[in-house]
């Protein structure tokens, strides 16, 4: 029973159907080729026989014309006895044999003139069995009838030589083909079954499962590799999602608790209008902070999920970078920092202006927060540079602050991660996560490097082809 079902499964597979179809086509082709060969060989043999018969006929006719029936009888007798002689029979008008080497002919056979194929027995060699022959019957003056023929037994043998092995060959071909088909199909099925089993285990929740790659580079490997890449992405997204919910649980509940405590505290202790106002004011500030964090979280999640891809269009990153540098310049100045922007535009990239602007602004904001000089009254420096390097657009924001130790550099890209020394500064710990997500959405890379001292963030984005005509940059939109 299980054999039948597994055979049924085998037969239903695409691989098996393909093999069967090929086998059928090949068998039909081979069959027709053999048939054509056989037919042609037969025709050739028949033609040779009929040409020889025709030559004999012409010769016999000339002998008859030269010497009448007696000479013909002599010639026929002589020829009949020659080795490798053809079939010869000369009869009188009533069918009585006069000379020749043929026996056992149907009686009425000689009553018709023309070409025929007959079975015969020779009179001269009883040992040699009769066979099939092509014969020509002619009437001679005086109602004599002459039969001249040639044995075509070779033709029959040739047919046997060709047809027999061909049939066997075909049978062997079909058997081997089916066996090979089953073998190949079973191998294919085995790999498909492996894939199915892995997918099922992944669906059951084992997200770290991966499809086996045989390393042969065949189509299954390619499929497995691309499915594995997809699984990688899904796992990353799922991890992100889980991380988001963990983070929400932890980092949103803390300010929510604070908010609630403050309101409770106001209820309990507020006496004057001023107390109430203060409490309400703080509540609004706290909820604004929460909204901000919430917005940033949602934005990261959406960007990571690939949203905004539809809003991408060619834009000049140089214009965005210049704009952000200019936007932050007064603030930086106030904090004792000079912004030095070295921007070599235009730098066309394909992207979402809002997201790239937000990312850049996060970086500059970080540089201002953490890049301030330690010495009171001293001046710090933030370097923003942007330029094209072959097929990439490189954007660097560097500060001279404390920097990030190498071992922390991947860690800080995660949500809500804040270095211990930055806890005193306001911030959600989402800034760099958003930058990383935006860069990833745009198909770019991001590196955190040591600026000795300070942090150097290097972003590389794929460059877009230069536009034919530079449009009015949207930053200078007329008011």
């Amino acid at each position: 029973m299980s054999f039948v079902t597994s055979l049924g499964r085998l037969v239903r597979t695409t691989a098996f159907k393909l093999i069967a179809a090929y086998l059928l086509v090949f068998a039909v082709f081979a069959g027709s080729l053999i048939g054509y060969l056989g037919w042609h060989t037969q025709r050739l043999v028949t033609r040779q026989a009929s040409e020889a018969i025709q030559a004999d006929t012409d010769f016999m006719k000339s002998q008859f014309e030269r010497g009448g029936i007696s000479r013909l009888v002599q010639v026929v007798n002589r020829r009949s006895r020659a080795p490798d002689a053809g079939l010869l029979l000369l009869t009188s008008f009533n069918g009585e044999p006069l000379a020749g080497n043929v026996l056992n002919l149907p009686l009425n056979f000689l009553s018709q003139e023309g070409w025929q194929e007959i079975d015969y027995l020779r009179s001269d060699e009883a040992v040699r069995p009769g066979g099939r022959a092509l014969v020509h019957v002619i009437y001679l003056p005086g109602e004599f009838r002459l039969l001249i023929g040639r044995d075509v037994v070779e033709r029959e043998e040739l047919r046997k030589i060709i047809i027999g092995p061909a049939v066997w060959g075909l049978v062997l071909l079909v058997v081997l083909g089916v066996a090979g088909g089953i073998f190949v199909t079973r191998r294919v099925l085995k790999r498909i079954d492996q894939m199915t089993a892995t997918s099922e285990s992944i669906m059951a929740g084992n997200l770290s499962g991966r499809l086996a790659v045989a390393g042969t580079g065949d189509e299954f490997d390619r499929l497995a590799l691309s499915l594995n890449a997809m699984l990688e992405r899904i796992e990353a997204l799922m991890t992100g999602l889980k991380q988001v919910s963990d983070n929400i649980a932890h980092d949103l509940k803390t300010p929510l608790t604070r908010l609630r405590n403050r309101a409770e505290d106001a209820l309990r202790t507020a006496r004057t209008d001023e107390d109430w106002r203060l409490a309400t004011e703080q509540t609004i500030d706290e909820s604004d902070g929460l909204i901000r964090t919430f917005d940033a979280l949602l934005m990261i999640a959406r960007v990571e999920a690939g949203q905004g891809q539809s809003a991408m269009q060619p834009l000049d990153l140089a214009e965005t970078a210049t704009g952000v540098a200019e936007l932050y310049e007064p603030l930086a100045d106030e904090q004792g920092l000079d912004i030095e922007a070295t921007i070599d535009g235009p730098l066309m990239v394909r992207g979402v202006r809002e997201l790239l602007g937000q990312a850049l602004s996060n970086l500059v904001d970080n540089a201002i927060k953490y890049g301030a000089p330690d010495v009171p009254g001293g001046r710090g420096r933030i370097a923003i540079s942007a330029g094209r390097d072959g097929e990439t657009v490189r954007l660097v924001v560097a500060d001279g602050g404390a920097g990030i130790p190498p071992e922390e550099r991947t860690h800080v890209l995660q949500r809500f991660v804040r270095l211990e020394k930055s806890r005193t500064q306001p911030g959600s710990g989402l800034g760099l996560s958003l930058v990383a997500a935006v860069v990833h959405l745009h198909g770019g890379t991001m590196r955190l490097e040591d600026n000795a001292p300070g942090l150097r963030v290097v972003i590389e984005l794929p460059a877009e082809a230069e536009p034919a005509d530079l449009q009015l940059s949207s930053g200078d939109a007329a008011l």
Binding site: D295, G308, E326, Y328, S361, L479
Partner: protein
């Protein structure tokens, strides 16, 4: 306080009362400002009853006349009756969604300014809303002061100064064609961005302009710059146009934004 409100209360003021540590100096008068006295007729299309009631109350306190519609069809019918200065439309509404309401309205040749409120907050949400025919867009949750400032800006769009080439507030003059700013006849040199900042503030003279509005309209940025970078730009501008002159014209409205106004008028 030299300025006396003609309205009983001012929403921006009542929402964020003055609260600052003593000794922090600011050139602005402290808080008692909202936009100059004028009355708008508003239609608010919002299905959440309590949010709608809150908005009606707050707009009324700011001196405006408010009608409410609870779904898209009702909103469309009321809007088509006409007579509103601004429509405030929620994006997700029963019976007819906000975007379809706006498209239908525009299709019938009604050009009443529309502000879209949206809780969707997707990256391209704003673009979708504006493309459908909206004039401004505000993601939820929002501060009422932000909504009020934007609605007032919409209502007075195409107001007295919109097409002028010369803006004037007291003795401060801005020549849009010559790119020249003078105060009391004395030329003030401004950076290009400062010029655009002042230009926007003066076009909306007497109206409260929020930081986000400045960021969107002067910088064309639609993202959150984390820190109040705008404040530093405004204080730089203020030091150029108000320092050494009297009275101060560029005022900070606590909890809302800025306003350029001649309070002595």
């Amino acid at each position: 306080m030299p300025y006396i409100m003609s309205k009983p209360t001012c929403a921006a003021d009542s929402l964020r009362p003055p609260l600052r540590p003593a000794g922090v100096a600011d050139a602005s008068t402290d808080g008692a400002f909202c936009s100059e006295d004028f009355t708008m007729r508003l239609l608010i299309v919002e299905d959440d009853r309590s949010a709608a009631d809150y908005l009606r109350k707050a707009f009324r306190e700011a001196g405006h006349i408010v009608d409410l519609a609870g779904d898209g069809e009702e909103g469309l019918a009321l809007a088509l009756d006409g007579g509103y200065d601004v429509l405030v439309v929620d994006r997700m509404l029963p019976r007819r969604d906000g975007l379809s309401l706006i498209t239908e309205l525009r299709g019938r040749g009604d050009a009443t300014p529309v502000l879209i409120l949206s809780a969707l907050g997707q990256v391209d949400d704003r673009v979708t809303g504006l493309r459908a025919g909206g004039d401004d867009y505000l993601p939820k949750p929002y501060a009422f002061s932000e909504l009020l400032a934007r609605v007032e800006a919409l209502a007075r769009r195409g107001g007295p100064q919109a097409a002028d080439t010369l803006y004037r507030v007291a003795d401060l003059e801005l020549d849009r064609l010559a790119h020249r700013v003078t105060r009391g006849g004395q030329e003030i040199v401004l950076q290009p961005r400062e010029f655009r900042l002042l230009e926007y503030l003066m076009r909306h003279a007497g109206q409260v302009v929020t930081r986000t509005m400045l960021l969107e309209n002067v910088w064309d940025y639609h993202f959150d710059p984390q820190t109040n970078v705008i404040d530093v730009h405004v204080s730089r501008l203020r030091s150029k146009i108000d320092k050494g002159f009297d009275p101060p014209l560029l005022h900070t409205v606590r909890g809302a934004g800025y306003v350029v106004r001649d309070i002595a008028r």
